[in-house]
């Protein structure tokens, strides 16, 4: 095990387990306070928590970038605009007969 010490009333391994819920703001207030206190006192967990959060942020920030200058960002915005074109392509690609 890399490290596991009690800082702020919570151990490193518990912080590791709680990290995603903590970042989502999805932990009870007392757990949130203990994790926060731990991160302020444990350099290792603070470092790793930052890397973890940065990895998640990069997934959205980097992979969601439009892939060409005139393409809209992926996600909600382009679905409606592209949807009509996709349906047209699909209808054009359908075989004349099916299920026979």
């Amino acid at each position: 095990m890399a490290h596991d010490r009690d800082v702020g009333g919570i151990r490193c391994l518990e912080v590791l387990a709680a990290l995603p819920s903590f970042l989502d703001g999805d932990v009870p207030a007392d757990v949130h306070a203990r994790v926060l206190c731990h991160l302020q006192g444990c350099t290792w967990c603070a470092q790793f928590g930052g890397d973890y959060a940065q990895t998640v942020a990069r997934l959205r920030a980097i992979l969601i970038l439009p892939q060409s200058a005139d393409a809209p960002a992926s996600g909600e915005a382009d679905e409606g605009a592209d949807g009509g074109a996709r349906l047209r392509r699909l209808m054009d690609a359908l075989p004349v007969y099916s299920g026979e």
Binding site: M1, A2, H3, D4, C12, L13, L16, A17, L19, P20, S21, T43, W44, C45, Q47, F48, G50, D51, Y52, T55, V56, R58, L59, R60, I62, L63, I64, L65, Q67, A71, S74, G75, E79, G83, R86, L87, R89, L90, M91, A93, L94, P95, Y97, S98, G99
Partner: protein, 207 residues
Amino acid sequence: MPCVPTQDDLRSIDQRDLDDLRDIALGDRVAFARLVSRYERPVLHLARALCAGQRDSADDVLQDTFLSVFQGAHTFRADGSPRAWILTIARHAAAKHLRHTPPPAPSPDPDDATSLASLGAAAGWGEAASPEQLTSDAEQRAALQRALLSLDDTDRLVIGLRDLQGLSGPEAAALAGLPLNTLKTRLHRARLRLMVAMRAGGSPHGS
């Protein structure tokens, strides 16, 4: 934000789906267009998640999925769930599409014989400093995509649905066919495995 349909909504949608699938099996293109309009969004989310954010690949998967639905509607069993059937076709279409890309290295046991501590340690937990950062967006993007594509389907799916597509936990769980708590646990471990893969240059095994 997309909303989660209620059980009543789902029952009603299922009946419309059943009716449309029956008509599609007879070659009804209007019924097909209706079905596409209801399922384009979840299929696209699923495809983009499994294709690690590659827009063109996801569009190809969507196209293949609905063509398979049109051609295979007569094989659908009416006692099954149309939604589950369509999403399963989408997963198979994505798997087939990804076989045309460089094959991923074997991924760690998804059920996790590895403890959270061991997995965290492999991802850098407990180290004094982060590895050297890649500089450009292009490098980071390429490294993330390599790392994502090296993960197994379910890891890539849960990361894709939650982190790439930005779906809520319940929405992602419904699409992935996982209980919410399982999705949360799986997502955490999948992110850690992604960090392991990033440290190894895109493969969980450093190859």
